[in-house]
Symmetry: D2
Subunit: 338 residues, 4 copies
Amino acid sequence: MIIVLKPDCTAAQVKSFTDSLTEEYKVKVNTWVGTHSTVLGLIGDTSVIDIEYIAAQDVVDSVKRVQEPYKKANRKFHPDNTVITLPGGQKIGDGNLCIMAGPCSVETEEQICYVAERVKAAGAQFLRGGAFKPRTSPYAFQGLHASGLELLRKAREHTGLPIVTEIMSTAHLPLFEDVDIIQVGARNMQNFELLKELGKLRKPILLKRGLANTIEETLMSAEYIMAGGNEQVILCERGIRTYETYTRNTLDISAVPIFKKLSHLPVIVDPSHASGIASLVEPLAMAAVAAGADGLMIEVHNNPAKALSDGAQSLTPDQFDHVAKRVFAAAKVLKEDM
Amino acid sequence: MIIVLKPDCTAAQVKSFTDSLTEEYKVKVNTWVGTHSTVLGLIGDTSVIDIEYIAAQDVVDSVKRVQEPYKKANRKFHPDNTVITLPGGQKIGDGNLCIMAGPCSVETEEQICYVAERVKAAGAQFLRGGAFKPRTSPYAFQGLHASGLELLRKAREHTGLPIVTEIMSTAHLPLFEDVDIIQVGARNMQNFELLKELGKLRKPILLKRGLANTIEETLMSAEYIMAGGNEQVILCERGIRTYETYTRNTLDISAVPIFKKLSHLPVIVDPSHASGIASLVEPLAMAAVAAGADGLMIEVHNNPAKALSDGAQSLTPDQFDHVAKRVFAAAKVLKEDM
Amino acid sequence: MIIVLKPDCTAAQVKSFTDSLTEEYKVKVNTWVGTHSTVLGLIGDTSVIDIEYIAAQDVVDSVKRVQEPYKKANRKFHPDNTVITLPGGQKIGDGNLCIMAGPCSVETEEQICYVAERVKAAGAQFLRGGAFKPRTSPYAFQGLHASGLELLRKAREHTGLPIVTEIMSTAHLPLFEDVDIIQVGARNMQNFELLKELGKLRKPILLKRGLANTIEETLMSAEYIMAGGNEQVILCERGIRTYETYTRNTLDISAVPIFKKLSHLPVIVDPSHASGIASLVEPLAMAAVAAGADGLMIEVHNNPAKALSDGAQSLTPDQFDHVAKRVFAAAKVLKEDM
Amino acid sequence: MIIVLKPDCTAAQVKSFTDSLTEEYKVKVNTWVGTHSTVLGLIGDTSVIDIEYIAAQDVVDSVKRVQEPYKKANRKFHPDNTVITLPGGQKIGDGNLCIMAGPCSVETEEQICYVAERVKAAGAQFLRGGAFKPRTSPYAFQGLHASGLELLRKAREHTGLPIVTEIMSTAHLPLFEDVDIIQVGARNMQNFELLKELGKLRKPILLKRGLANTIEETLMSAEYIMAGGNEQVILCERGIRTYETYTRNTLDISAVPIFKKLSHLPVIVDPSHASGIASLVEPLAMAAVAAGADGLMIEVHNNPAKALSDGAQSLTPDQFDHVAKRVFAAAKVLKEDM
């Protein structure tokens, strides 16, 4: 951490501030006195230092981190890719493309079992489906809740696909005991109380990047879960909010190689939510694979026009067959090629 | 609601779609057949219709709302300003300027009581202070939790000021029974499970606009609380995320007159979080008052350089005296003038 | 165009407004009277109607376009892809991947000739290089101007590669007579006087999307050039400005399939400017190809650390060899596959 | 300027890089060797150093400016406010509120003279009006050009109000010789060739902040003009592009106190373009004055519904009377109060 002090600091002020840093944080402080300003360099573990606290000090002009503020999610300290293995043997992050597919909302047993069969046949290794749905309007369909989770379990029995589904409150945790991968939605990425509870579990957490969160903030939210001891975190880029209105969100494709560079965690992409438009799912899924994503999360519905949520971005099973064929082919070629 | 159908729809498709709308939503549908496309106009209560569901239909090209999707928060149905009155007689939204002031985090009894005295002396009618702090880093100070709430109660006893403090999880609700105004922070504005629980209470909720949420989404979150029966919602503009990095967020000052136009709820502004810079609090507070805000929320700390959070944006009690004097003077003149 | 009138319009107002529309724009107006409001549907060529003018009318509540406001750039009226063929036979938009590569700034004859040779050897079909450089600071290197263009011509003679270079002012047009493809930079995308002059030429124009311009605005700027009679426009996605600071800009990869859907013009991607980081050029170039781009524009410099501009995002010739090999291989596979 | 070197730099690399900095930029370099990385501090005039050039060096990890990259626009070197005085004695930046008002587009002699009379009567000291209009669509009204300027001159003769009007191309400069204040529109804020030409003049330039430009970039564009010797620059905040769609742009009210802090130049606000909605002009104008703006630019049209451009955001003369009365009253009180 580099701290630039204000030009008019006295030597006594510099000393007093330097001493306080040494004491409070057990860091070594190097002082460099320039013509206009004094610069301090902190050596040691600065990830525990609150940069805003430092910035608030009277004597401080500005602060710059040299080290990232996350440790457990940081590739520097874990150079190898994390591979998450489910009890059934499915792997995420081992160099193969994993696909999580299914409807936005679980609606009926027939629906979820049919979609599960179809996505499995197309090559998806995981079934996604929402039982608790975050909706902007209190008057919109909010999901089937416990009975939706029950239907997901039936579809799992039926097909053997592990299930991925979103949690919206710590109060619902008991219902999620049997869920294979728990998803944290974009709107809850900084619901820190929820993250802390998920850190106590020992099962994979799919963490979606928030609507307007930075790459660093996303890694800090992963750090929340990992700090609790649960190191099975999967990062998911799902589009960010920008001024462009043609798509629902703007897929930040650069986030894929950046997450891979900064962190050892697996990275997947959700082209369905990123665009909100079914016809864009294929090109965005292809782009994600080409950019190095470890997996995809894609919405598939037996009858998108009758979907209780997000129909406009859902693929039909036939459309998904086509997309899956193309992305697996591309992943194979790209892997050989690297 | 205006629905533009795709150019190639058959008459049978139009009829089938129109019939389904009439049945499902009990609305009247007017059909207008143009040269290129057919347009439908829906009459009745369309606030319960999920616009995305409509957009997902095969026959639909695009949809446009004419009515807003919120009802209880809508000024059209409640032309008079809502005035929230606390048991102690304090009012929000009655045309007078209300100020909520205090430290970002509650730290010690001395601190909170001293700040409470000082902000009361300067004219603040409410004491703010955080006991549960949403922090980006798991390694940063997270607040004193239950004991922080206890200290706030002591400061209330000491000064008579009602207290405003943030809740982060439904699990903490029992601790907040005695809190006068419960704050929902920006990161939780779309924590819908939390909003639903707050809708069951009968006490004022201060709802902060999310980091990257629209004005309409903010009103929809207010609607979540109000739909549960709790109509005491205070809207708070606290800056939105943009590309500009000089300030922590960009205060969307236009939101003040827009919220006032679209809704009957009181609107306050938090210039401290909006800018993240203490020296900007005064001009932004002045701007908020001039734009028609009903109140302000301002961070004041006895010793900002030693604040455990957000010191860079906190005013000292002396600085707050000055700001309070200016904003009350401006509010008085502006009120006479209108 | 659908126009929703204000609820309190009188029949006389509706008639008077409708008559004025019919007269001024030679459109047919269908009127649909609802319970709360009257809706007008305009039939005919509405692309010449100024939507803001309509929105400003006293009787108008809101307006919605059904037709896009661009015609010449619109795929609806030109279903086939535009293929741009240069005098030397190079084609853009014919289904093959075209690559424009070279340094940000032309610096010396040795530099530009060497880079031209290297990028040609790697498969690039066009040489890019800046002679007029838009720089944020007046104190930064502004390019070699006329002598830079002269050096580009020498490199063209040397290698046979057509040259692509940016124009910054109509005053420089005479210097660009011999340039093969004239580039309009992101900062000039809405320099309408420049666009009008380029519309009078009969040579390809590479139009970069502005820093914060929408997809529709980009197509409207293409329309400016095409309205003047020059239909050889190449669209270039180069990243947009968002709140994320890790990359210089955020590559809007979705823009590639959207531009291809809405328009018949060729679409290329500039991963160098989109990220500002050399190590991201490869994954973003791969993503662009996978998303369906017709080409790439990539910065290559003999010695990035000594580049007079944009060194941080430039590849060395060796790095470019690798990227070119991978993107050509991917393009080949993806083409077979489609 | 603080430069953090990569952890694995050798002593020889550090020395070689340090030497090159000393030679090229005539700065003194202080070297501080930490445990993990070496940090360099540059002393001297670093405003001429291209930060991107430094960042591109192999040995460099990151760079941080301590000094701002602008000099002539910088308050540090010019502590007193710049006051711009027109030949007719009107002043901008002397502590009084100046208002520039008039129609978006000049349309007819009657229109511009009538509006000029009315805004003068209401207290405006300058007449604004567009003769060259930047329009998104090539099919929209582009202004009356030379004859529009002629009409502005007539209105000036008629009322004595100096005129403010936008230039869109260096090619039009001869037509602007007689214009009192030349406006650079948001879309041309980084049209550097235009800025350079305006730097050669000796008359006030009103520089509008670009649609998606930062505060620092705006000051750098002012620096372009000032570097040419023309120090009469007026900064204008007119709203930035964000994800919020209710308003056309988002007025960045914080920019007012920040511009005043960083620079000595006068700062005005354009609430008409910032919102695009006539009813928001008053609250935003009030907010601008309260935040410390030196002036306002407001669109006024004799008949907004018939305005050839921007009618939706124009005030009628009667509405402007009311706004002017309120803002002058507020400015008077606020001035006394400070």
